[in-house]
Amino acid sequence: MNSAISETMTDKIIKILIYVFLGFATLIVLYPLVYIISASISDPADVNSGKMWLFPKGITFEGYRIIFENGAIWKGYLNTVFYTVLGTTINLAVTIPAAYALSRKDFAGRNLFMAMFVITMFFSGGLIPTYLVVKSLGLIDTIWAMVLPNAAAVWNIVIARVFFQSTIPKELEEAAIIDGASNFKMFFKIILPLSMPIIAVMGLFYGVGHWNGYFNALIYLSDKELFPLQLVLREILVLQEMASQNTDVTGSMAEAMHSKQQLAAVIKYGVMIVSTLPIIIIYPFLQRFFVKGVMIGSLKG
């Protein structure tokens, strides 16, 4: 951005300060992440006493061993994988064709449909009426409660629509229509093969949402067999922890309680890693595609 003109002294200092600031921000974000990784493989006694503060101390994989032997975590993992795959498939099947139809300028009523969808971003029935609808449809305590109430997101439809408008050449559609291809044929034979990038982006958007979501499960599921990973995590990370902290802070801790808590602490950091693993693995893609998604969204004329 800068031209060849030499910088003044103050500018140089400002520049250095900016770099220092960025480094500082990065360290603040990075530290808790490194800490979790180190804590997950450290001796719980060292973690809890604060001796382990950056690099692993007294390395042990006991926590991970316990996690892998825990039936509830496995069950939750499998459920979450299932909800993510099924949910994302439904999301794509709803979003992509709708976005394509909305991108067609010769589609009568498209503005009406668009308005109908967009209004729901600002006005909604609220928690209770939505819950009652899900309940009256008989979806409570079924896998469908995990995938139908969030079968589409307005914002993603908008992004996919922008993609179709800006990347599918109009001439292609015109040629297909002149050749007498039906809309179905055109969509499946021509449009879909050209849409792999947006399908990937949408798949990631929705997939991460399903993987990380807990609230639908909290309100719609009571059968533990159906619990997704995030609800199992909630029990380990939030409910147990809160309980132990609130009861033990003031009183003197009994030895037995102490070791149990330490054990919980090791599992705790381990489950954070294990549950986030798929996201960590695809993070390089996520970063690129998500940023692209936000960019498409913020495209202004």
Binding site: I14, G50, T120, G126, L127, P129, L132, V158, V249, F290
Partner: protein
């Protein structure tokens, strides 16, 4: 993220409507609207699933809001339940917790707005000054990452790090000679914990939309300013910051319009009986009263009150923005 992105959509819409009116000349001319509909009937099948989804899961609940004015009894259904007028609203306004809920709800979101709104702007301005390269990429990769951490793991981290006996933060405080602070059980600390954990998680991600706006700044402005002898800070202040103003206004409108409906999932997870005094907000109250205590009508009324305040705020702020500047949502 949803709220950030929502903004831009409307702008998009605005700019596209005029174009979309023009019928592409090359297409077989739609002589009549009916014919066009018939010809494209398959497109209606494409949109049918989305239409059904929004109708069932968004519009039927809107119709269901009427239970706020009724005494909803599940066995009689929405239609069969008896009208009671504003009774549930009165009960809510007269309750002893009404002002506490309002205070907590507004307090949390205003606090979050004051701290959380400027930080992504500052970080984006700084990132924009850094040269493209490994350093900048590293900063971005690291600061974007927490965005993808689930809210449950986030709550778990907060509770673990802030634990009075075993948390690393309190170990640090003790090391510096302070007494450990019971962050999670002291109501005084709840809002700070909520706001700053949010800063940690979303500041980096929040820069993306501003960086997009900054990439649209014409480099010639900077070159001209350099020739005129402007310092780096002057250029940031007089060229880059003004370029961000439209984005800021849109995001501010969205934030203010959402002021009564903030990160309720995280609050719910961090809430416990000891900090309830400052962590009980309208949204968590609706959850408690409606889903745990099954007072459907009462909870729906409280939720509706919340949405109405939100809508009024959104419209008011948007009107003000429209009058004072060129930028607004609609």
């Amino acid at each position: 993220m949803d709220s950030n992105t929502a903004t831009v959509l409307t702008e998009e819409e605005k700019q596209q409507t005029p174009k979309s009116r023009k019928v592409p000349t090359k297409l077989p001319k739609p002589k009549k609207k009916n014919k066009k509909i018939l010809q494209n009937w398959q497109l209606y099948i494409f949109i049918l699933p989305a239409f059904l989804y929004f109708f069932i899961f968004h519009y039927i609940p809107m119709y269901g809001i009427q239970i706020a004015f009724k005494d909803f009894i599940p066995s009689s259904g929405i239609w069969g339940s008896e009208w009671v007028g504003l009774e549930h609203f009165k009960r809510f306004f007269d309750s002893y917790y009404f002002w506490d809920l309002i205070k907590n709800t507004l307090g949390l979101s205003v606090y979050e707005l004051i701290i959380g709104f400027p930080l992504p702007i500052i970080l984006a301005l700084a990132l924009n000054e850094a040269k493209d390269g490994l350093y900048k990429r590293t900063v971005q990769t690291v600061t974007y990452a927490p965005h993808f951490i689930s809210v449950v793991v986030m709550a778990g981290m907060i509770i673990a790090f802030l634990s009075p006996a075993t948390g690393i933060i309190n170990h640090g405080l003790t090391l510096l000679g302070f007494d450990p602070i019971p962050f999670m059980s002291d109501p005084k600390w709840f809002k700070t914990v909520y706001v700053f954990s949010g800063v940690w998680q979303s500041t980096g991600w929040g820069t993306i939309i501003y960086l997009a706006a900054l990439s649209g700044v014409d480099p010639q402005h900077h070159e001209a300013a350099i020739v005129d002898g402007a310092t780096r800070l002057q250029r940031i202040w007089h060229i880059n910051v003004p370029a961000l103003v439209p984005t800021m206004i849109i995001l501010l409108i969205m934030n203010l319009g959402n002021i009564m409906a903030m990160g309720f999932e995280k609050i719910l997870l961090l809430q416990n009986p000891l900090n309830l005094e400052s962590s009980n907000v309208i949204a968590t109250f609706v959850y408690q009263a409606g889903l745990l205590d099954a007072q459907y009508s009462f909870a729906a009324a409280v939720g509706l009150f919340n949405s109405v305040i939100n809508a009024i705020l959104l419209i008011t702020v948007n009107q003000i923005a429209k009058k004072r500047s060129e930028t607004s949502l609609w």
